[in-house]
């Protein structure tokens, strides 16, 4: 009998956060960078819901709803920017967009 504690959820959420961070920092394709941001936001939500369950407090779940709202807005605007970018520069590689680089 190995009961699942809050710590299990925290470790899982940290692992997902780190996977998402690796994706953001190392990939070149902007679409996949946006997907990694979704992974990071989901890691946050796992954390919030775990504490909400452990402390019997609904605040965490409410906050998770707001995080999901932000994720939706972020995805919509981010993909809109991506389409505008692709129309102007014909590329989706993050390191080829270096106009402001010194």
């Amino acid at each position: 009998m190995y009961p699942i504690t809050t710590l299990h959820y925290l470790v899982l959420s940290v692992a997902l956060l780190l996977i998402g961070t690796v994706g953001v920092l190392t990939r070149r394709n902007i679409v996949i960078i946006l997907m990694s941001i979704e992974l990071i936001l989901n890691a946050v939500n796992i954390n919030l819901v775990a504490f909400s369950h452990a402390l019997h407090n609904l605040g965490g779940q409410i906050f998770a709803i707001f995080v999901i709202t932000d994720a939706v807005a972020e995805a919509a605007v981010g993909l809109g920017i991506l389409i505008a970018l692709f129309r102007n520069k014909e590329t989706v590689q993050a390191d080829e967009i270096d106009l402001l680089k010194w």
Binding site: M1, Y2, P3, I4, T5, T6, L7, H8, Y9, L10, L12, V14, A15, L16, L18, I19, G20, T21, V22, L25, T26, R27, R28, N29, V31, I32, M35, S36, E38, L39, N42, N45, V49, S52, H53, A54, L55, H56, Q61, I62, A64, I65, F66, I68, T69, A71, V72, A73, E74, A75, A76, V77, L79, G80, I83, A84, F86, R87, Q93, D95
Partner: protein, 172 residues
């Protein structure tokens, strides 16, 4: 109790394997499908923690909405060229080193603070079933205590809608 443990590990495996495949696949469509698996795993974790409303929101909004948006954009933007090129940027080693540093830091914090999670014991004890359903309690809190953030969130969504339409338009 045992079934909870087994389901947790199944869902955790889904989440982590889906995440790893998302950031390593060459083809963006494969990445998107792995991301769906990962998000469904997270939805399963919500169900394990009696957050039924969030489970439904996760499946409908993430798997149904955001992933549809991603697949649309993958279809609109020509990614064949990108799939043939180098997948990781030049500074990938620096990024990986930074992430290992952060992992060590968070791991140390969790290791030192593991005794502080005595709240975890309340998860193993079966709590008294709440009088109201999860959705009902969430709605009560959302529309009374959190009404102002709720309205602000709706303004945020309106701004996002207008912004993305303006951004994706050919000529303004």
């Amino acid at each position: 109790m045992l079934i909870d443990t087994i389901s947790f590990y199944i869902f955790a495996f889904m989440v982590l394997a889906g995440g790893v495949f998302t950031i390593t696949r060459r083809n963006a469509v494969h990445s998107a499908i792995s991301l769906i698996v990962s998000l469904l795993g997270v939805a399963g974790l919500y169900l394990l923690q009696q957050a039924e409303f969030l489970f439904v929101v996760q499946v409908m909004l993430y798997v149904g909405g955001i992933m549809l948006l991603f697949l649309f954009v993958i279809m609109l933007v020509n990614l064949d060229q990108a799939a043939r090129e180098r997948q990781f940027n030049k500074a990938w080693l620096v990024g990986l080193a930074a992430v290992v540093g952060v992992a060590a830091e968070i791991g140390y914090v969790l290791y030192r603070g593991r005794d502080a999670f005595h709240v975890a014991d309340s998860m193993t004890a079966v709590p008294a079933p709440p009088a109201l359903g999860n959705t009902e309690m969430l709605a009560d809190a959302l529309f009374s205590e959190y009404l102002l953030p709720f309205e602000i969130a709706s303004i945020l969504l309106l701004v996002a809608v207008v912004g993305s339409v303006v951004m994706a338009k050919k000529r303004i």
